[in-house]
Amino acid sequence: MKPAATESPAPDQGAECWCLRLYVAGQSPRSIQAFQNLKDLCETHLAGRYEIEIIDLIENPRLARGDQIVAVPTLVRKLPEPVRKIIGDLSNTDRVLVGLDLRPRG
């Protein structure tokens, strides 16, 4: 997997930082699962150039409105633009990569 990871993000390769925000609702198993999956994926594909912000909607319910959060967990790619949203526990790595534009669609 390692070689693929270094190759595939070629168009985005640069100094830019990946700014990711993960919305969860409390410490549910699904939330924890999603966070773990995200962490693994970033370490694999974006090592050293990503930051993850976790927002627990149970603590900050008002923040759900801003990013139009309906489903939980939702991962929002704030940077690089355009904004992307990925919902679910991120267990389907292929779809996450497609959703983050780390792998071409189709």
Partner: protein, 569 residues
């Protein structure tokens, strides 16, 4: 149980939550089931969003129940603008923290589904808003948009089921709208989850005229009207016409109201129409139907009553002008607020819409009399059966309210039997039926009036001629004879002829009297002459008698003297 804290109800059954929507609370016998979700379904444009919005706004504004509105199809800005035209100031209610509005938006192309998820985001947003305004009501408008946005139907169904259960737990009364599907109430079978109360809104087009109808499909644990009820969306929002009472138990009045024409009153037992009865004035074109209606309107207003004049042919200004030409100053009554003219083409709306409008106007104005002039034009909007149903509803409604109703109707033709027949077939429903007829004779047309029927009063069986002048309407006796009815100048001619004939008769009688007199005097003269003759004869006879006696005496005397002379013994 999760009934709301103010679970108060007039019925021992289910606690109900008033919607505040005109008519809907009557049909549902108190409102929607309190603390439970209600599904409102219907095709696009049937008024689902409006119903949901009115439920929230009226609750927050009039019934002290703050609410949350979640839109899945329109943005906050669009919603606020849309309902502003109905007089709902959502901005203000939001500023007062009585209503919370949110737009939930998911664009499928921007979203990737990667495994298991829940709709906690929606729950949290909803919960946060309920808490913020202390909501007692929630509306979810177009929640099915989630099905197009998210692909895993299994998760969605489970989550929606959880959502509606959660709403019940919150003790809020909810309205959920869903688009009608093919052969199902909603496209995604929301009725499977929201089954306490289901309202169906229908929007049909017949003869190019759109009609809205509302039906309660089900209402668990409560009685409700099961018919399709006509609904209307106008500048005041949604209203439904609760035509629940088709029973014949309205109060009956013995009071009378003047027809506005003295001699017509006289024909109707001397006092005019019964108050609260329905009157049909039918006749051919130009026979004076509207004028009779105007006379009645004028009379009602002059006695201080309110009158609603619903015209479907002429504009208000035209009615005023035309009626002032026969001495009815209706403008005065409009200024004093007693008369309300409402001119509208029947083809503008469906029949039900007219019914709802009339209903609303009557409820607003509380008139003593309602005039529909004419009802004939409704036939353009619906078929005969529908028009009859609609007019029956109007009559029933007005009778129930004790309002005198006057309808005018154009008779289809002048042929035999056609006059005594209306296209609308409502003649059996009306209490008094006046028939106006034009008769043509001697190169002119004149108006005749008959009282065809008038229930419950001794009414005249006479035909009268209707006379219009700038002083008003009057009735004149017509000349009948030899199967002919004389009216107009014929009547005048007949009057003159009658006068001549009477004069001739008088003269003839005089002549006869004179002749007899002459005969009598002749005879008397002759009697005198004969009497004189008789008297002469009598005199002669007496004289002769006296002479005879003298002669006899003289003779006796002479005889005695002779005997003496002879010394006879």
């Amino acid at each position: 149980m999760q009934t709301g804290p103010q679970a108060v109800s007039h019925s021992p059954g289910l606690a109900k939550c008033r919607t505040g929507i005109c008519g809907l609370d009557e049909i549902t016998e108190g409102g929607l089931p309190q603390g439970r979700p209600t599904l409102v379904c219907g095709a696009a444009g049937s008024g689902k969003t409006l119903l949901a919005m009115e439920f929230i706004v009226r609750g927050a504004r009039d019934l002290d129940e703050p609410g949350v509105f979640i839109a899945f199809e329109e943005t906050e800005g669009e919603l606020i603008a849309n309902v502003r035209s109905l007089g709902f100031d959502l901005d203000d209610l939001i500023a007062q923290n009585r209503v919370a509005l949110d737009y939930v938006y998911i664009e499928r192309s921007e979203i990737e589904e990667t495994g298991d998820y829940g709709l906690d985001g929606l729950f949290i947003r909803l919960g946060c808003m309920i808490e913020q305004v202390g909501a007692r009501r929630v509306a979810l408008d177009g929640v099915e948009a989630l099905f197009t946005a998210l692909s895993s139907e299994g998760i969605l169904r489970a989550e929606l089921r959880r959502l509606f259960r959660w709403l019940k737990e919150q003790g809020v009364t909810a309205v959920i709208t869903g688009e009608q599907g093919q052969g199902t109430l909603t496209r995604h079978n929301l009725e499977e989850y929201v089954s306490d109360c289901v309202i169906f809104l229908d929007h049909r087009v017949n003869n190019q005229v759109a009609t809205r109808r509302l039906r309660i499909v089900k209402y668990r644990g409560s009685r409700h009207g099961t018919n399709e009820y006509p609904a209307l969306i106008d500048e005041c929002g949604l209203s439904v016409l609760p035509i629940s009472s088709v029973s014949l138990d309205h109060r009956v009045s013995r009071e009378r109201v003047s027809t506005g024409i003295q001699r017509l009153d006289a024909m109707l037992g001397g006092q005019g129409y019964f108050k609260g009865s329905s009157v049909l004035v039918s006749g051919t074109a130009g026979a004076g139907k509207s004028s009779l209606a105007a006379a009645f309107a004028d009379s009602v207003c002059r006695h201080g009553g309110r009158c609603l004049y619903w015209s479907s042919e002429e504009s208000s200004a035209q009615i005023l002008r035309n009626m002032s030409s026969i001495g009815f100053d209706l403008g005065r009554h409009i200024q004093s607020g007693l008369l309300h003219c409402f001119a509208i083409r029947p083809t503008l709306y469906g029949l039900e819409n007219h019914l709802v409008r009339l209903h609303k106007l009557v409820v607003e104005q509380r008139p003593e009399a309602v005039i529909l002039d004419p009802i004939t034009n409704f036939a353009a909007v619906g078929d005969a059966a529908e028009v009859k149903i609609m007019l029956t509803r109007v009559i029933d409604f007005l009778k129930k309210e004790g309002i005198t109703a006057l309808f005018t109707s154009l008779a289809p033709g002048t042929g035999h039997g056609q006059l005594e027949h209306t296209d609308e077939g409502i003649s059996t429903l009306t209490d008094t039926w006046l028939l106006l007829q034009m008769v043509q004779s001697a190169g002119e047309r004149n108006r005749l009036l008959y009282v065809l029927k008038s229930r419950g009063m001794a009414h005249s069986n006479q035909v009268r001629e209707l006379l219009f002048s700038e002083r008003g309407i009057d009735l004149a006796d017509v000349y009948t004879g030899a199967g002919q009815v004389y009216a107009g100048s014929d009547r005048l001619a007949q009057q003159a002829r009658d006068q001549t004939a009477a004069l001739a008769q008088r003269q003839a009688a005089e002549r006869r009297r004179r002749t007899l007199q002459q005969k009598r005097s002749g005879l008397l003269a002759r009697i005198h002459a004969l009497q004189a003759q008789l008297d002469g004869i009598e005199e002669d006879a007496a004289l002769a008698e006296a002479q005879e006696l003298q002669r006899l005496a003289a003779a006796a005397c002479a005889e005695a003297e002779l005997a003496h002379a002879r010394y006879a013994d």
